[in-house]
């Protein structure tokens, strides 16, 4: 599926390109150890500017989801699942993503999922698939 392309900058680049090394990278405060998402050069928990991207496990749980039936752009293939996923080891972070590799009606809240990167050019979109 065609996907809008994120504009890369110094702060978001680790997130959008980490998949090249098979890693899901989230910004983390090096002082208080909290995660910061969306990534920013400052920690929202302790105001430290000592932040750096770190690889996380890449597994998580479906927090909520919706099955989208509306083609918002020409040639958009529907239906597909949009989900909000919590990330193991990164409390407080939610990623909006797609659940792929199963029928849309097979997804439910609480499902365990694992990241699966889809590459388009420089960008490695972190999508998720269900773990059996």
């Amino acid at each position: 599926m065609t996907r809008p392309v994120p504009k890369l900058d110094a702060v978001n680049r680790p997130f959008w390109t980490g998949g090249a090394d098979g890693e899901l990278r989230l910004m983390r405060c090096q002082d208080c150890k909290e995660f910061i998402h969306p990534p920013r050069p400052v920690c929202r928990h302790c105001l430290s500017d000592r932040v750096a991207p770190e690889a996380v496990a890449g597994t998580g749980v479906v927090d909520t989801f919706t099955v989208n039936y509306q083609p918002w752009a020409p040639n958009m293939e529907v239906p597909f699942v949009i989900a909000r996923v919590t990330i193991d080891g990164a409390p407080g972070v939610y990623l909006t993503t797609n659940i792929i590799g199963c029928e849309p009606d097979a997804v439910d809240i609480g499902d365990k999922v694992r990241v699966s990167f889809e590459q388009q050019g420089e960008i490695h979109y972190p999508l998720f698939e269900k773990v059996d």
Binding site: P4, V5, P38, T66, V67, W72, I82, G92, I109
Partner: protein
Amino acid sequence: MAEAYITGIGQSEVGVRLERHPLLLTLDAVREALDEAGLSIDQIDGVSTYPGRVPVFLGFSPVGADELIDALGIRATWHAGGGEISSQLGAVVAAAMAVKTGAARHVLCFRTVYEAAALSRPDEYPPMRKKTVDGNSQWFAPFNAMSPANWTAQYAMRHVKRYGLTREQLAQIALNDRANGVRNPRALVRKPLTLDEYMSARMVSTPLCLYDCDRFTDASTVLIVSAGDAVDEVTCTPIRIAAFAGTVERHSWDQAEWMSCYPTGEDLWKQTDYTPADVDTVQFYDGFSFQAITWLEGLGFCERGEGGRFIEGGHRIALDGELPMNTGGGQIAGGRLHGFGFAHEAVTQLRGLGGERQVSNNPRVAVATSGGGPLATALLLAND
């Protein structure tokens, strides 16, 4: 403390693919508001709007405060217009603060929308095209979660799974809107909707179907906010802005567990001696029907998670129910006036000018809200 009142209110024709210039739609609403208040344009010394002129997406907001000041020959001692405010009705909150501090006496607040017309005239109003996405949209658009419908649907799905919200319950927002729209001469849709039609509608983003969503509309709505020591200059019944709130804890559509209407609803009641039991009618933002349910919960009209059961069968929120909701048809029947319509309708009801849709027993206190996700504003309005 100094008070702020809503005095004159006005509304242009409400339609789709209107030919009339958006500045003239705004003028129509301004004239109606001035006439009602018995004010002249010379007495207007402030202008407030949301989200200001949006050049990359003109249909969304074709007229800003700057242009209106110049176009109507206003001498403004205070003005503001922008999107980074608690939500659409945040423009009214800003105006209330301006008149309370004496920065202005009569502030013209407006919201003009032209989305349907813009879509039908792409040469004049080119659609937004971008090669890349940045800012907040980079966290949604790459997953084709393009619309607030998707973002709102995810909250709604959690309500379904955690609290048992059913489609039959959710339907009551649209059914109530469409029933009330029949009685509102300016409503965009003036035809009732049946539960069968709702249940068989196509899905947009589960659990939201076609009838859970408002649609692009062309219209302008005006509310004049006047200082307490200036209301003797107006001829209409002034409606007091008894309290307002617009609390945000995380400014994000996906990093907060729930939407900003919950902290906003809680904080509204800290500003007033009124309680939810005093409220005679509610006008809740329903660009997506589910948002009205969360406002019910956020403002404490029922417990969190009980919104679906509260509106079950639709009797409580009907025009003759215990808490008449969206008496002008909300945005689903009334048109996507984008927030301002809810305050306009609340004022209409508190003045007893609702005609066929007037709530009985002289309503004195109303809540009007706007916003979804991280955006939330609640106004407590009183004829007291």
